[in-house]
Symmetry: C2
Subunit: 257 residues, 2 copies
C-alpha cells in the first residue's frame, strides 16, 4: 500500500448527499481524494451511459490533497470522464457511495452506486460500492465510516482478484450492535410493482412507481440474511452475466456444422 494512495470517490445520490461527504471524509484519513459525482440525484439509474448529449464538469472545491467536481451525467459517466479529465489516469482505488439505502439482493441491478464501482472494475481499478440501509437524507453514517475505512484499507493492501468488485452493505443500527463482516452471495429477490394511476390537472393520466420488495429465499449465506442479522455484508460481484451452469443445457440448440 502506497503511503498516500489516490482514491476516486463517486456515488449516485449526487454531489450534495451526506453519504458522499461521509465517504470522502473517511477516505481523506487514508489517501488523496478526488471526487467526481453526479450534479443531481440518480438513484436507480443503473449502468446508464450518456452518449447522445454532451457532458459538463463543474468544479466545486480544492484543498491540499482533496478535489471535488460535479458531472452532469450518470455515475458511470462520472467514472469515465473523471479518469480522463480529473484523475488523468487510473486511481489506486475507487469507492462509490455511501448509498442512502440498500444495494443488497436484486437492488444491485438498479443501482447507480454499484454501476460506478463495476464500471471502474471494467477499467481495471480495484473498486468498492458502499451502502447504508437507511434511505433518509440525514442518515447517520458514523458507524459505517469505521467499516468503510477498514475495508478500503484491506483492498489497498491486498488488492482484489481481476474483474471482481465488492458490494458492501451496512445495517442501520448503532455501532455496538453490528456483529462484524460476513462474506455473502446475492439473495434471490425481486421488486413487485404497483403503479399508482393518477390524473393531472389537465385530466391526463400519469403513473407513479410504487414497488414492494419480495424476498425469494432466506438462506444464511445471503446478503439479505446477513443484514437482517446485523452483519456488514460483502458480496464479491462481477460483470460476467453468463449463466455458466446452463451453457450445456442449451448445447443441443446449436445447428451449425
Amino acid at each position: 500500500m502506497k503511503k498516500r494512495p489516490l482514491i476516486f470517490v463517486t456515488n449516485d445520490d449526487g454531489v450534495e448527499a451526506a453519504g458522499l461527504q461521509a465517504l470522502s471524509d473517511a477516505m481523506r484519513q487514508i489517501g488523496d481524494v478526488k471526487v467526481v459525482a453526479p450534479l443531481h440525484p440518480m438513484s436507480g439509474i443503473g449502468h446508464a451511459v450518456t452518449s447522445r448529449e454532451p457532458l459538463r464538469l463543474k468544479f466545486f472545491e480544492k484543498q491540499d490533497s482533496y478535489e471535488k467536481y460535479g458531472c452532469s451525467g450518470t455515475p458511470v459517466d462520472c467514472v469515465k470522464i473523471g479518469e480522463q479529465y480529473v484523475i488523468k489516469g487510473k486511481p489506486d482505488l475507487l469507492v462509490s457511495g455511501i448509498n442512502h439505502g440498500s444495494n443488497a439482493a436484486v437492488n444491485i441491478i438498479y443501482s447507480g452506486t454499484m454501476a460506478a464501482a463495476l464500471e471502474s472494475t471494467i477499467g481495471g481499478v480495484p473498486s468498492i460500492g458502499f451502502s447504508l440501509l437507511d434511505n433518509s437524507h440525514d442518515a447517520d453514517f458514523s458507524a459505517s465510516q469505521e467499516y468503510v475505512v477498514e475495508i478500503a484499507k484491506k483492498v489497498l493492501q491486498e488488492g482484489l482478484p481481476e474483474d471482481v468488485t465488492l458490494n458492501v452493505n451496512i445495517p442501520a443500527v448503532p455501532k455496538n450492535e453490528i456483529r462484524g463482516i460476513k462474506i455473502c452471495r446475492q439473495a434471490r429477490s425481486r421488486w413487485v410493482e404497483d403503479y399508482e394511476q393518477r390524473m393531472d390537472p389537465g385530466k391526463k393520466e400519469y403513473f407513479w412507481l410504487n414497488g414492494n420488495f419480495e424476498l425469494r429465499e432466506n438462506a444464511k449465506d445471503t446478503d439479505d440474511w446477513a443484514l437482517k442479522n446485523n452483519y456488514v455484508s460483502i458480496v464479491p460481484v462481477h460483470f460476467d452475466f453468463t449463466a455458466h451452469k446452463f451453457l450445456n443445457h442449451f448445447k443441443n440448440w446449436e445447428n451449425h456444422d
Copy 2:
C-alpha cells in the same frame, strides 16, 4: 406451446425503430402481440428505472391481436408498467429488440434492450433480447427475423430455466452467409473512453463520449468470436452478480464470532 401465445415486445431504440417493427412483425406470425416501447431512443440506458418522475403511456394502434403503446420511461419501466396496465398480468414470452447494434461481450451491461429482458426474467417471464450487429437506422432485419422466429418458438415450446435470459446477437451478413446458432459465454472486453473536449458558443467547455471497444480475449467459446465468424450467438445470462468462485477467497475477511 399455446396456439396463440401472448408476446410482449419492447426495445431501447424507441417506438419508431425499424428493429422494433421487424420484431413485432416476426412475433405476429406466432402469437398475439402487445408492444410497449420507450417514446424516445434510450440506447445505453442500462437497467435504469424511473421513480422520481411520473410515467406516461401513449396509445399508438390496435388491430385484432396486436396493440402498440409508447412509454415516457426506460425499457425497464416499459416492462413494469406494461405488465400492469397493458398486458394486465404476465405474457407467455417477452422479446426485446431487435437492437440496432451489438449487445455481445461487455455491451450487455450498458444495454437497455437486455435490461428489459432481464427485468422480465426477474418477474418470472421467459425472455429474450435480440440484437443485430448493424447500428444504422435502415439496417436490414430480414435475415434476423428468421432466427428470431426460430428461437422464440423454441423458448415457447421448451421454456427457459428459472432466472435465465437469452442474449441473442446476429451478425450483419446476408442470410446465406450465417453459419447457424452457437451457444457462447460473454467475451471479456471493455470500452476505453476518449471524450472529445469542445467549446460551446458561450465559451464553456463540454465533452462528447467517444469510446473504443477493446477485446480482452479471443476464445472460440465467446460470443464475440462466434459473431466474427458469422454465427448467431446465444449467451444464457442471469442477474446474479455474485462472483461465486471468489466467495472462499474472501472468507478470511470475516471477523465476526
